[in-house]
Structures are given as C-alpha cells and as structure tokens.
Amino acid sequence: MKVRVRKVNPVKALFKTGGGVMRHTIQVTVNGQTHQVEVESRMLLVELIRDVLGLTGTHVGCDTSQCGACTVHVNGEAVKSCTMFAVQADGCEITTIEGLAQDGQLHPLQEGFWQEHGLQCGFCTPGIIMAAADLLKRNPNPSEDEIRHALEGNYCRCTGYHNIVRAIQYAAARMRGEAVVPRGEAAPTGAS
C-alpha cells in the first residue's frame, strides 16, 4: 500500500489525545470530487466514506480487516478502507464503487459481474470489484489460480466464488479488447 501521508502523523495524533477527540481538517478527492472535512483522529477511512460523505456502496463486513467488503482505491491501488485512518488519506485520490462507471458506461468488471452472475446478495460485491480492478491493472490476463489467489483478502459467503472467477475472466477479456460472448440467454448452461 503506497499512500502519501501529508501534514499529520496519525499515530502520533492518536497518542497525543489518548485516543480522544483531536480533530483534523483534511482534503480528499473522492470519485473526482474534492472535499475538505474535519475528522477525528481515530476516524477510519471507511467511516469517512460512508458516514461523512454518504457513499454507502463501500461496506463494512468485519472488524479485523479480513473480509474486504470495504475495499476502495487510494491513489489507484486497492486498499481496505477499514485499515486506514481518514487522516492518512489526506491529499489522496480515492475511488469507490460509485466512481467506477465512466460516462454512464459500466466498468467491464461491473458488466462482468452482472453477466456472469458474480453476485447474489451484493454485499461483498463492491469490495470484490475494486480488488479485481487492481488485479487486472497488474495482470491483464490472470489464470483462474491467479484470480483465486488475488481474492484471498475478500470473503463472499453467497456465490462460492465460482461465478466471481468467471466474472473477472469476462472483464479481463473485455479489457484486453477481446470480443466476449456472454452466455446466451437461451443457451443450455449445464456443466461449466
């Protein structure tokens, strides 16, 4: 995780107040929009995103940094936003699931998850899509094993991951400019 931390050393700030209510003004650009906000030193980035900025597409599924439901991009890299203090994001560019579609066009991953039934309840989905976007940037043609490995930090309890793998493969092909034929609507879907 490469994150530029400006002005404030959050750990020091936290100790200075004994975990109390010291506040900082930070500036973050989220999905292209710049915000100046005052935050408590202990506020997590995910709390800033959800509770202050009202972007509720980023979810919280755990309190031990394991589930990945909170994954966003900070300066272009996937970060679990529950593992970072809001003050650490000062000066950063953040992309959340709400900022992924461009000009009304779904991102290929969003399309892939939709086409390949990569989601059921949808709760893990934003985090998994953001993690997968990071993977595809680093590895445009991942194997199934590489995809499964890259998803180690994300839990999905609904899908058994099978269709998540298909969805990411679908998006990867699309992003490589290959023609993708979604499973025909009337096509038999039997053994896959």
Binding site: L100, T125, T159, Y161, E185, A187, P188, A191
Partner: protein, 790 residues
C-alpha cells in the same frame, strides 16, 4: 409476434444494476434525521448473576442520550422473545429477555444499551457501564450439561433438558438391528457453525409520535413474522401501528430469520426517546450474537442384511440449543432432522431420539439446511462407511437401497411421504460426468505412487417448500406456512408483484418477474417485484427452507390465474364474444380461429377507465392469492467430490466437486446454479474449515472473529461442475421444489466421505470435523484426534 418465453432462461438479474454500482440499500446505509446510535454492553462471562449495573458514568459521557438495562425494559412491560415452535407438551420455555435481567447465560448476552448522538460516543460510553457480576460455573457442551451436577442454565429446566423427542418405531428398529448381518456404527459431533452472512445484522427503530407509528428497519428474512412477534408478544403494541421494512439484506442463510433482541431494543428505545435509533453489529458481535447452527452429538447405527440392504437405523442425538430458545430452535434438530433420516433409501425401520439441551452458549437455530444437512450427514456417512466395511463399492451399495422411480409416492417410516424422484438417475448422471470408473483407476494408480486420492459421494434428499399449514400445526409450529402474493396491474399495463417472501441474494426480483412476464406475455421490463415492506406486501411468511419459489412463486401463479380470469371477462365484453371463444396467447386474447384480438395493455386500460365495461364486473385489475402447499417438496441429488490428502502435512485439497441436483422445474438456470455453488461452498466449509469452539472451562467463544473462524476463501475451492435433472414437483403449479439449501445439505458428507475414502486403507474410518490438517495428520499416524481443536 411470439412473446418470448421466460421459463428456463438465464435472464440476467434485474437487481444487479444497483448492486454492481454501489446503490444497494442495506439497513446500515439508511440515515434518518435525528438518528441516534445504540451500542450494546455484552456479558464477558458465560454464566454470571448480575448483582448491579452502574450506568451513571456512561450517562454523563458527552453525547450520550440514554442508558437502559433489562430491568428498565421489564418495568416498562416489554415481554420475552417467544419461540415459534413447540416440541411436545413438556418443552421448557424459560424467558428470553432482550437484555438480561437476573443472570447472563452466554458470552455476548446483552446487559445494557447505550444510546448516543454518534456511534463512537455510544461505544466509548459503553466502556463506562459497570456491571457487578457474580461469576457462576458454566457449561458449553451439551453432553456435559446433561450430567449430574452440571451448572444449571435455567431454573425452569432441571438437568438443562428442554425436551426429549422421538420418532419412529423403537421396538421394530431394535429388533431389526438385533438380527442384522452387519452393523455400521458412528459416534460423532456435527460441529457448531457460525453462519456469517457478510452483512452484519442491523436494525433501526423509528417511532413517529405524531402518528403513533413505529417503523423497524431490520436485516431480516421475514418482516411480517418480526412484526407479529414484536407487536403481539414483545412490545405489545397494535400490529397496524408497526411497520417492518427489510430492505436489501446482505445474505441470511437462516441467521436472519429470527426475532433478535436488538430489534426489540431499537424499537422500544425509539418509542422511549422519540428519535430513530440504529444498531449495527460489529463482526465480533455477529460471532457472539447471531444464532449459531448445527451442534449435535450423535450415535447412529445402521444395520444391513447379507446383500447390503438396509434393515434399520437407530439414531441418538443430543442437540445443543444454546442459552435461550431462538425463534425456530426447537424444531430444527427434531422435525427438520428426524424426518429426513430415511434419505433416499428404503430403510424399513428407523427410530430417532433427540434431547434438546440448554448450555451457556449462543442460541442455536436454523442455518442453511437446518436439520437436513445433519440428517444427510448421518445417513450418508453411515452408508459410505458401511460400503467400505462390507467391501462393496459405495455407489453400488446405494443402488441396492434406493427408492425406485415407480415407488412414488413413497411413505417413509418417519412421517414424510416423498412425492417424486429418480435417485438412481441422479447418481448415474454424476458418475458419468465424473467418469467414475476412470477416477477409481486413477485413484488406484495414485495410491501406488504414494498419493492419497479420495472419492466421495453424497446422495441427499431434503424436505422444502415449508410447509402445509395443517402439518405445521400438527408438528408444533406456532404459525401457518402458506405464502402470499398480490398482483397489481396498472392502467398502462405495467405490473407490480407483491410477495410475502424476501430476497437476500436469491434473485426473486428476477425469477418472480420471469413467471409474471411469461404468464401474461409481457416484457420482463414491465414487471416489478416488491418485497420486504409490511406496509406494501400482503401478510407473508418470508424466506427460509428453500420455500420461496415453491410457495411464494405458486402464490404468484395463483394470483395470475385470477388476473387472467378477470382479463378474459373484460376481453370477452370488448370483443363481444363468449369467454370460451377466447384463447390467451402472447399477451393477447384472440377470438379462436380469427385474427380479432385485444392486447393485455388495452384490457388494463379498460379496467381502470371502464367507460365500456361489463355491468357485473368491478373496475380495476388487482388480485391477491394465498397459497398453502399440499405437501413438502423433495429436491434431491447426487454429489461427488475428489480430494487429495497431503501425506506429509495432512492438508486436504478439494480437486473436483460435481453436483447433479433435481430441484424440480427451473425458471432461471443461472440463478439455480448460483444457489448450488454457494450452498456447496458452505457445506465444504463445514467439512474442512469451519467450527465454533468454546473454551470448556470459561465458556469463552474462542472462534470470535474471522481470524479464528475460517470461512472458505476463493483459493480453498475449485470451480464446480454442475448438472441438472428436472423432475417437476407434482403438487404445485410451477413444478418447483427449491434450490437454496441443496448444496449445503449434500456437500459436507460428500467431502468427508472423500477424505475417509482416501485414508480408509490406513485405518481411518472417521474424523471429527472440520478436517483440519492437524487432525488428518494425526489420524494417519494413529494418534488421537480429539482435543486437536481446529
């Protein structure tokens, strides 16, 4: 133009646009003006008397609005959370208050709630609530709890016994086993699981004093049930003044069926304070406070004759119910378990006895499959082990015992009458998909090279589509289990469908819309499915037990029949012909043998602008239906898994997983496959990874976070190979049976059977789940596996 068919088609899900763009709306996403935040103070002890609770310091903390205890709620007349299932007249039902009053009975039992302007303030102040506990000895293991002198969880339940339940013919079974040629016996634990939907539970109470109306937003699988329990039993406020909304819900798997203390706390405290109150579980609270699943200790014996035919099955189970009776807890290890012990086989005599036991642990209730995975585990482990012991191929032993397709309806010795099935057909299909002969040959070759490959089978049956209400009543369910639907056609021909079921991942907004679009011959885009809000939908029983399509879908179908009947009257009037002269095709009523026709849209408009209209007909086009199923549905299937065990580390790798399921008629194969995948993953999780562990002396939950409780991750699983067989259910109009639990029911036994198959020649005939590398490694070396906790 032919209207398109929507049945059996993998239509992409209508609901997905909002989920892939981050526009889903889960309970915790909802912010109301003036909202307050609740944090629950939970017991750190498994068993303790509450001497006193000091709340002054917490109250004085900045931002805190109120601190309430169990006594405050009791004094205000708030009742106990009731259980909805009675097992026998003697069942012990000790009270379960939303916040503990006299004693705490498990780690995580709520003792007080702090309500503040921010979540952070509530959480900070919760640390300032001082509870004076007198610690008591605790018991977490159900067998221990039954012993003389065990700590007593409830004074009302001597010996910690909630009930003893039995089913089947004891004497006949004993006789059959006494003369059996071979008996296979297993003693095992079906370990406790923690469901762990990825969305933590959440609730918002919102009392509007001006209207005297209470709205509860809650991550629930069945909003009407919650409204009924809350209004009639717990808060005792008029039902029509309570509205329950279950918005998008991030997975349930059973754990969000039940009426939970936090729902009561938010609803009640919002009435007290006149402001909305929100609570959302931290994951560590989910681990402690979501109802757990399974937790059986079982001894089971299956007898065979010389030819390998099953002659009898005797099962003794001790079921851990936890500290209090959750909403459906008593019925899960009894009726949903004992009645499935015939499996797919012609077992002539079965007797099962179950003791339901209180312990100092989190309440246990339905978790995906609910009783049926436990039953399948008993039957399929025994059959598989017997095959090894008797030297018969496990597929062949099953074949010798299957109920045959021409034997339906089939009456089992444990109440159920199976309606239809082709068990051997499913087994043959999965063996063919796997190329079983070749697999066995490869296994043999691998073994010669020192590699441990195992092949496991699991042939399961489940009873779904809960349930005929008469039967439900006869077996102690304190509710009817019909389902409801309403269809509202709008003047422009667009259609809203209101269902009493609830979708939390199952895709009802799509599947149900497919049924409606298909039946009315209109585009899918013209149909909207509404669920989850008691102010909008007719009284429904919600979603669990793989019931939504079989019961809720059938209710929709019935309502559509009424719509079509009325539309036909309007069409006959407009076309000036007799109703019998019309046929309904492609969304049009056509005068038979002519090209005269009127479309559904014109009929809808006529119904709402009835200028030219039959005299004896009411305007409007809106119909309700309640559907009470004639029987359970009986999905079944055959699964096969292939594993490799690392001889050096004991690690099990799942190489292949194949499933052939017969879930009846399929509306959307893509969604059905998704349900199978997810179900299988959870079943594999129980076999290899998951297990809740309590410390036996302190009663602490040792697996209280994702760090200690292993959910399956993407690289723990292979891709699945899924095939279908379609035997329509004969007694509901859709022919549907249900697909939500099948994978979980089959997979656990399937994978354990594969691992034992890999190790049997080393003298390993059984292993405690989860099959962690350490346990497998020890077993291979003849070392004891007990105590080798995960």
């Amino acid at each position: 133009m032919e209207a398109r068919s929507y049945i059996g088609v993998p239509v992409r899900r209508v609901e997905d646009r909002r989920f892939v763009t981050g526009q889903g709306r889960y309970t915790d996403d909802i912010v109301l003006p003036g909202m307050l935040y609740a944090w629950i103070v939970r017991s750190p002890h498994a068993h303790a008397r509450i001497r006193a609770i000091h709340t002054e310091k917490a109250r004085q903390h900045p931002g805190v609005v109120a601190v309430f205890t169990g006594k405050d709620m009791l004094d205000d007349g708030v009742g106990s959370l009731p259980t909805g299932w009675q097992i026998g007249s003697d069942m012990k039902e000790p009270p379960h208050y939303a916040l503990a009053v006299d004693k705490v009975r498990y780690v995580g039992d709520g003792v007080a709630v702090v309500i503040a302007e921010t979540k952070a303030a509530a959480r900070d102040a919760a640390d300032l609530v001082e509870v004076d506990y007198e610690e008591l000895p605790a018991v977490v293991d159900a067998a221990e709890a039954l012993k003389e002198g065990a700590p007593l969880v409830h004074d009302e339940a001597p010996g910690n016994l909630c009930y003893v339940w039995e089913l089947g013919d004891r004497e006949a079974t004993d006789r059959a086993l006494a003369t059996a040629h071979h008996i296979t016996k297993l003693e095992f634990v079906n370990q406790r699981l923690i469901p762990n939907a990825i969305e933590p539970r959440s609730a918002i109470g919102h009392y509007d004093p001006g209207r005297d109306e209470l709205t509860l937003y809650t991550s629930s699988q069945n909003p009407h049930l919650i409204r009924l329990l809350l209004s009639a039993f717990v808060l005792k406020v008029p039902e029509h003044k309570v509205r329950v909304i279950s918005p998008d819900v991030g997975g349930g798997f059973g754990s969000k069926i039940f009426h939970y203390p936090e729902e009561v706390i938010c609803a009640w405290s919002s009435r007290k304070l006149g402001r909305p109150v929100k609570w959302t579980a931290a994951r560590s609270e989910s681990f402690m406070s979501d109802a757990h699943g399974r937790d059986h200790i079982t001894t089971a014996e299956m007898g065979f004759d010389r030819d390998g035919r099953i002659v009898g099955l005797r099962v003794r189970t001790i079921a851990n119910l936890g500290a209090y009776l959750s909403t459906f807890a008593p019925g899960v290890p009894t009726w949903l378990y004992g009645t499935l012990l015939a499996g797919q086989y012609k077992t002539p005599h079965i007797h099962v006895e179950v003791k339901g036991v209180f312990t100092n642990t989190t309440p246990v209730d339905a978790y995906r499959g609910a009783g049926r995975p436990e039953a399948t585990y008993v039957v399929e482990r025994l059959v598989d082990l017997a095959a090894h012991e008797m030297g018969i191929d496990p597929a062949e032993l099953r074949r010798r015992n299957f109920i045959q397709p021409d034997e339906f309806p089939y009456q089992t010795p444990v109440v159920l009458q199976y309606d239809s099935g082709n068990y051997e057909g499913a087994l043959n299909k999965v063996l063919e998909m796997a190329d079983y002969e070749k697999l066995r040959a490869e296994q043999k070759r691998a073994r010669e090279e020192g590699r441990l490959i195992g092949i496991g089978l699991s042939c399961y049956i489940e009873a779904c589509g809960l349930a005929p209400s008469k039967v439900a009543g006869a077996i102690g369910v304190r509710a009817g289990l019909y389902e409801s639907a309403a269809i509202r056609v709008m003047p422009t021909g667009k259609v809203q469908v209101f269902t009493g079921t609830h979708s939390h991942g199952q895709g009802h907004e799509t599947t149900f819309a497919q049924i409606v679009a298909h039946e009315l011959g209109i585009p899918l885009e013209d149909v909207e499915v509404v669920h989850g809000d008691t102010a909008e939908i007719p009284f429904g029983m919600g979603t669990y037990g793989s019931r939504s399509l079989a019961t809720g879908g059938s209710a929709i179908y019935r309502a559509l029949e009424k719509i079509k009947a009325k539309a036909r009257k309007i069409a006959a009037h407009k076309l000036e012909v007799a109703e019998e002269d019309l046929e309904f095709r492609n969304g049009q009523f056509i005068v038979k043998g002519t090209d005269r026709a009127i479309g559904f849209g014109d009929i809808a408009l006529t119904a709402y602008v009835p200028h030219d209209y039959p005299d004896d007909l009411e305007p409007g086009l809106e119909e309700n239906a309640f559907y009470d199923p004639a029987n359970f549905t009986f999905p079944f299937g055959a699964h096969l898994s292939v594993v490799e065990v690392d001889p050096d580390t004991g690690k099990v790798k799942l190489l292949r997983y194949l499933a052939v399921d017969d879930v009846g008629r399929i509306i959307n194969p893509m969604i059905v496959e998704g349900q199978i995948h997810g179900g299988v993953a959870q079943g594999v999780g129980q076999a290899l990874l998951e297990g809740a562990v309590y410390d036996r002396s302190s009663g602490q939950l040792l697996t209280g976070s994702f760090l200690d409780y292993a959910l399956p991750r993407a690289d723990d699983l292979p891709s699945f190979e899924v095939g279908h067989q379609e035997t329509p259910c004969p007694h509901n109009p859709l022919g549907a049976k249900g697909a939500g639990e099948a994978g979980t029911i089959a997979a656990t036994a399937c994978v354990v059977n594969a691992v034992i198959d890999a190790l049997y020649h080393l003298g390993v005939r059984d292993l405690p789940m989860p099959l962690t590398p350490e346990r497998v490694w020890r077993a291979m070396r003849g070392l004891p596996t007990d105590g080798a906790a995960s």
